[in-house]
Point group: C2
Chain length 392, copies 2
């Protein structure tokens, strides 16, 4: 049987074209004529696809504007009161929340310091649920669903396979549990993903020049990485790909929470770094660095060197051309990169060929929670008939 001999049905073609038009509008609004040109469809097809979405208040047709010669055109854009996606990030020492619209714009954001380490799985999820319900109070816009980020590997079915820094979540069906915390109207599927992977997704969407192959480094209490390969997340068979925090720096080094010794996290994780610098918080460390405090600078350089050793090993496994530093490392970018770069130059085999470029994530702290909502936005744009069904 040759696949190419199976004709595409009307339904498939319409769905494909609908995705095309909505994704174009999400990138930049345009008139029917603009969109026809950008997608290669006819103006009539664009109109027939867009009209049901205008009727349901998902797309907005603007006032006529005479931008150039000829008849004035009306811009199609996503409606400012249209549906939004919810992002929730449960991390080791905080919980963050976001609302993101269909264009990927962050509509609102909130972060609460919560020491989830002292809580059970039930308490962690109940606390996040309460924060989420409060966050959504007063939101009049239709909600598309919830993306949930966690500091651990996520396996099939949204189960947390292992969260070394938040072991209460190990083996927990956190997605199903969180759905139980939501009002019935929001009891849609909750999509769960590792926070470093979400950071990678968010960064690839926010970056102006889209590089389809990169490592996104998420530096929090845990150190993780999201691997983007040809524009897709590389997750591994159990969800453990990109566990940068548990690459070995010194095999006989300090005991790690994962059961191993001398892992990257034991040199470059937030807790270790703050202790070495004698700082009580990340803000205190940033202040100490700004006033050139020698202990703070030395601690950051040591963390950078260990992170560089781990990243060199990682690059010698996956050979990606770009490393994006997020979280804590984005905040300390200027002071942490020299030692990190030195290790990469010495140890990464690709360094002789230009190696991997190093960049600071502009998203820093809110990357994962934006990525969490982004999961839902992506699903909506891929399955746009959900949008009309939902709003109709």
């Amino acid at each position: 049987m040759t696949e190419a001999m199976v004709p595409a049905g009307q339904y498939t073609v319409r769905l494909h074209n609908l995705r095309l038009v909505l994704t174009e509008i999400a990138t930049a609004p345009g008139s029917r004529a603009d969109l026809a040109q950008r997608t290669g469809l006819t103006k009539a097809t664009v109109a027939s696809l867009a009209d049901p979405f205008i009727e349901r208040g998902i797309l907005l047709e603007g006032h006529p504007e005479a931008a150039g010669p000829g008849r004035p055109s009306r811009l199609l854009s996503f409606h400012p009161d249209g549906p939004v996606a919810v992002g929730v990030e449960i991390n080791v020492d905080y919980t963050a929340l976001s609302l993101v619209d269909l264009t990927g714009r962050l509509v609102s954001y909130q972060r609460a310091e919560v020491d989830n380490r002292v809580l059970s799985a039930v308490e962690i999820v109940a606390t996040a649920g309460r924060l989420c319900r409060d966050f959504l109070t007063g939101t009049a816009r239709p909600l598309l669903g919830v993306g949930l980020g966690v500091p651990g590997a996520v396996g099939p079915g949204g189960v947390v396979v292992r969260a070394p820094n938040l072991p209460a979540l190990n083996a927990d069906r956190v997605g199903a549990r969180f759905a139980g915390e939501l009002p019935p109207a929001l009891a849609t599927t909750v999509l769960v993903e590792n926070e470093a992977n979400l950071g990678a997704l968010a960064w690839s969407r926010a970056a102006a020049d889209v590089e389809p192959n990169f490592v996104y480094v998420s530096g929090e209490i845990g150190v993780g990485a999201g691997l983007m390969v040809d524009g897709e997340l590389f997750r591994g068979v159990h969800g453990f790909a990109g566990e940068l925090g548990h690459i070995v720096v010194e095999r006989d080094g300090p005991q790690c929470g994962c059961g191993g010794r001398g892992c990257v996290e034991q040199y470059a994780g937030q807790d270790v770094l703050l202790a070495a610098a004698g700082s009580a918080s990340v803000e205190a460390l940033e202040a100490a660095v700004l006033r050139d405090d020698p202990a703070a600078l030395a601690a950051v350089a040591q963390a950078g060197a260990a992170l560089g050793v781990g990243l060199a090993s990682l690059l010698n496994v996956v050979d990606l051309p770009l490393v994006v530093l997020g979280g804590l490392y984005a905040r300390l970018y200027e002071v942490i990169t020299p030692a990190l770069q030195r290790e990469l130059r010495q140890r990464a085999l690709s360094s002789g060929r230009g190696g991997a470029q190093l960049r600071r994530s502009e998203l820093a702290g809110d990357a994962a929670v934006r990525g969490a909502a982004g999961l839902i936005v992506d699903r909506a744009l891929k399955q746009p008939l959900r949008l009309t069904g939902f709003a109709g």
Copy 2:
């Protein structure tokens, strides 16, 4: 433009079906009726596709055999005098050669001890060329082309990007150079690939139960790995993916030829292992292990532990479910795996979830050179019109 609306041409369909029929015959011979059933094509289509290949002596139609009830059927198989592919492996301390037929069977194999380290790129290739010409003398079968394995990363265009253990080949266009050593009749394109990647390809073809995700570990003087992800080689942007030998075990460990320190190769590479065991050759080490020589056993266990640390870091980056040990490590499998397994269990995050299974490669020494010829066999089966053009 929707891709699904572009109709497939006659030519595309015929090519697709031809690939299907030839690949089925390569897997197991069959009558026209068998092949029609196995491919979903009609018997007439199978016949029209196969006939030109029978005429050109690539396929053989056997004598009628009355295997079951009804009319006797004739088996279609690849002709025993039909075309073969040439594999050449230039490694650090040997050069190996193979002939492989279109079913993937190894027709002949030869290995010559050559210390390529003391030679220039010109000398290395000239020596391999002479060995190859001698190897092919007397071969009456048509030759499809040459696959060439090298102990280094291979970039676009078949350039050796970097060969830490054979630096004479760094930046060398070894494929084009080797083509110049071949008789004009064989001056087809030479395909070049890293030897660990070729081992992975050969193993995946030889394995009875095909697992599409695994790490193939090639243990020679250099230590490398081929990463197979969803049935495709994962090569990285510059060709440096899977450089297991240069994952860090101890950041302040012994200086490595790559410029780094404390890399896997400095603990588990063949030269280091032989020196630690006090053995003059791999054969001597195997003999010492067989007679329970304490120094040999301790040296192998130490190499296994370091290899385990490196593999744990590798698995924490790519999370694959199977590790296949080849080369030196396949020969020492029983004695090297206990220490290796111990490190994996302790350090690989996936170990709590069943982790990665460990297996010994049945191919051991000839994996890479079989894989090299396999590159050419694959190309021939994917572009079968080359076969008729070539033999016609």
